[in-house]
Subunit: 497 residues, 2 copies
């Protein structure tokens, strides 16, 4: 088991540096030393950045230094992109400068075979003796929202927020950042863990678990070290905040592909799943699900049980959602007599009279909110999936035709258009307010006008099947929390924002 | 078993009318008689449209007629939106006018209970005696690309093409049209079958099966009539073109929801699945999958076997895709020695040396195409999943930073920007040409710049898991075709476009 007593202060520095050096920063546009350095500048790191380059006087307009030693003052973090053969020497220079943390982007170490592994082992031993933590080598970089440090290889500008992400594949991980931006999920910290020569997945998990800036931990993993203390750390974290992982290398073919690019040993899929369940870790079925689940759990409390109320504007969608809920292990209960009586008053005589609540052709936004409220408040219901809160495209195409046909004068058209726009905006706001304050989780399925999720503050899930699977996982986490706390009311009702 | 001898000519008229009347067209903006009429005008039906309204002289700028009888000349199709109680009378007027087909949007018949069912039965009997076919009642309308007839309740303007869609839920069905537009799938014909009082799912399937304008049949179904001859018709169609169905009502909860909105009886999910497999029908897992599969099969031939070659720019994505392929029942074979030797020459020494082919950090578009070609031509490979053909966003963010930092002059920046744009466009074109002419199916996973699928002529699938499931279904259909034709080379290698 690792002794992590020294690690905490190094980690703090790694995620909150004020002075960062890039060893290998360059003006040569095809090199990572240019691409990443430019990204660090572009994302407006709040501290100071020092390019280290023995030849150029300036790198992308910034005064460059011939060596680490030449940089005036202390360095908190060094980003290293020089060729593999030079890295051990760079680390010695960093140690002399007493740099506490290095992010080694450079590849060509343990992932290439025994020879590279030997070099990597020596580097790590040296770094540990020098009291320096290493990210990587062979990492695709890190991101830290608090200081706006973005030293990622991938061209992504994450939305700032409170999720932390650990990725054993940089490509898969940075894709979570892309997706997060689209879905409204903000990240506080991200690390591509690379070869994990020094810092490993469980080290980051341990740190994010106690990090007050982090509300949920996301991850993509392919393998754990046989001596890993992951199973000791994970339950400590999952009691405090959701941990959502996607696992690659579940099959022999996947494991063999994983071995070729990280050297990680993939375990048996069923064993992994059962261990994760025991540790309260939420296991996602795709990269997409990781991100959407994290965002859903940021917006919603966990359900207190498996009973889902379904609200829809179209019968078929109610059918599909019912099927998906049951197939995901949820229940679609009868609504209480009281709810039914109230819905009878709100909806036309021919409504579905059951759960799913099919509003049939009732298009009013207010009716949607009223029905939603009744379903949410039903004592038989633990969670709600609401479909089709997206009707307003209707008016726009109709108005275009009226304009083309010359069938309505321009002022009247404009007035209708503005009214429709205002009503749409008001509905977004009302729905968001309702969802934000709801004591029960609500997942919304549908398209949302032109407004992206991050702007509307809502998340519209594309498929009812996805929403059902997500709700089932949220309910399972709810059960885990209830079991582990031994209380009826679990502490992390909803994450702080 | 139905006698369909008369149906063929009626169906031809239904899908290719020249003169369409709308009974109940109105200037009252909240009514379907306004919304649908406006849509018919807006979508520029190639024939003539006659609004029938006893009070208004003009409807949305078009001269209106007091009754069907008043419309000069013959009517091919009548769209009926008047209240339920008036519909039997309207049908009598249509019969007098010898209208061969009516689309009854109006609801309030068999879906409301025994009383409505009795009225519907009488209407259908009357129509059949009069030699008139009925769509619906309680249909959300039809779309026919050939004559640009769009009489849909939903605000969707489908992409014109060669797919036909039958939907037992109008909401679910019209969503396929929305999705089709986004994914580049064009539709020739669409019908929301409604209560199926007269024309039923198997009638449309029978017609689309022999319709030369139709290259694939898509559908959402909830239930079949116990006397249905679906299982006799389906295999006749699936031998000629793909039939892709999504089934609602797989669980008791779903079936009960289906009963409440269509009265259809949902069967046992496992029985259904096995019957469909036997009939060569492709069963999709979601509405999304129906559309993406249809588009994939429009762009690609079916695989001759289950062996998938995987090309990726990021190791983790190769792992995920391998897992997903194996879990979907596909194989991830070794590549031939010849392919390996050729890849060795193309890629850096540290490439993954196996399947998946991980190009590691090789960003060149030409290298991507060259590697793709090698994997496609490998004799061990029946089909290919290519990931990450979408690198060019990189340059744009970098250039922005250079501009902000004043680190490069404006002319040079513009030149680089233009070069990047041109290279991107050329890559799209080259990739599309390659995919279009490939003798083996290739599914592409990734984001695609800003260009939507319908414009690029490519389909970028969002998730590798989706691509693997789709490929597995395509392979299963390939096996079915090979078995049913008894030949090694199956006839519908790729759909015509």
């Amino acid at each position: 088991m690792k002794d992590r007593r020294l690690m905490l202060s190094r980690m703090e520095t790694l995620w909150h540096p004020r002075r960062v050096a890039m060893v290998g920063a360059t003006n040569s546009m095809s090199k990572w030393g240019f691409i990443i350095f430019t990204r660090m500048l572009g994302e407006q790191f709040t501290g100071e950045i020092f390019p280290v380059n023995p030849r150029d006087e300036y790198v992308v307009g910034k005064k460059a230094y011939k060596s680490i030693a030449d940089v005036p003052g202390a360095i908190d973090v060094a980003v290293v992109v020089t060729p593999a053969a030079t890295v051990p020497g760079v680390l010695r220079e960093l140690a002399q400068k007493k740099v506490p943390a290095a992010i080694v982007i450079t590849s060509g170490f343990s992932e290439t075979g025994p020879e590279g592994a030997a070099v990597e082992r020596e580097m790590v031993e040296f770094a540990r003796k020098a009291g320096m933590v290493l990210v990587g080598p062979n990492t695709m970089g890190t991101y830290s929202a608090g200081v706006r440090l973005n030293c990622l290889m991938a061209p992504v500008s994450p939305l700032a927020g409170r999720a932390a992400c650990i990725a054993q594949s940089g490509n898969v991980g940075t894709h979570m950042l892309f997706r997060g931006r689209l879905r409204g999920l903000g990240f506080g910290k991200f690390v591509s863990s690379g070869n994990e020569g020094d810092l490993s997945l469980e080290d980051y998990l341990w740190y994010f678990g106690q990090d007050d800036e982090t509300s949920a931990v996301l991850g993509y993993l392919e393998g754990l070290d046989p001596d890993s203390d992951f199973m000791r750390i994970a339950p400590e974290v999952t009691k405090k905040k959701p941990v959502i992982l996607y696992k690659g290398g579940r099959t022999a073919a996947g494991a063999s592909a994983a071995a070729s690019h990280t050297g990680a040993l993939a375990g048996d899929a069923a064993v992994f799943r059962s261990a994760m369940r025991q540790a309260g870790v939420i296991v996602a079925e795709s990269n997409k699900e990781v991100v959407e689940l994290a965002r859903a759990m940021e917006l919603s409390p966990v359900p207190k049980g498996p009973r889902v109320g379904i609200l829809t504007r179209g019968g078929g969608w109610g059918v599909i959602t019912s099927d998906a809920c049951v197939e995901a292990g949820l229940e679609v209960p009868r609504l209480s007599d009281d709810t039914m009586a109230k819905l009878d008053k709100l909806l036309p005589a021919y409504w579905s009279r059951g759960n799913p609540v099919d509003m049939v052709a009732v298009l009013s936004n207010q009716a949607y909110l009223d029905c939603l409220d009744l379903v949410v408040k039903d004592p038989n219901v633990d969670a709600v999936i609401g479909l089709g809160a997206n009707i307003d495209a209707q008016t726009n195409t109709t108005l275009e035709t009226l304009r083309d046909q010359g069938a309505m004068d321009a002022d009247k058209l404009r007035a209708i258009e503005e009214k429709s726009q205002t009503e749409g905006d008001e509905f977004v706001k009302a729905l968001r307010d309702y969802l934000t304050n709801s004591p029960k989780p609500i997942l919304s399925v549908g398209r949302w006008r032109e407004t992206p999720d991050w702007e509307s503050g809502l998340m519209m899930i594309g498929e009812p099947e996805d929403a059902a699977r997500m709700m089932a996982k949220m309910a399972e986490y709810g059960r885990y929390l209830a079991g582990s706390s031994g209380k009826e009311d679990r502490p992390p009702r909803r994450q702080e924002r």
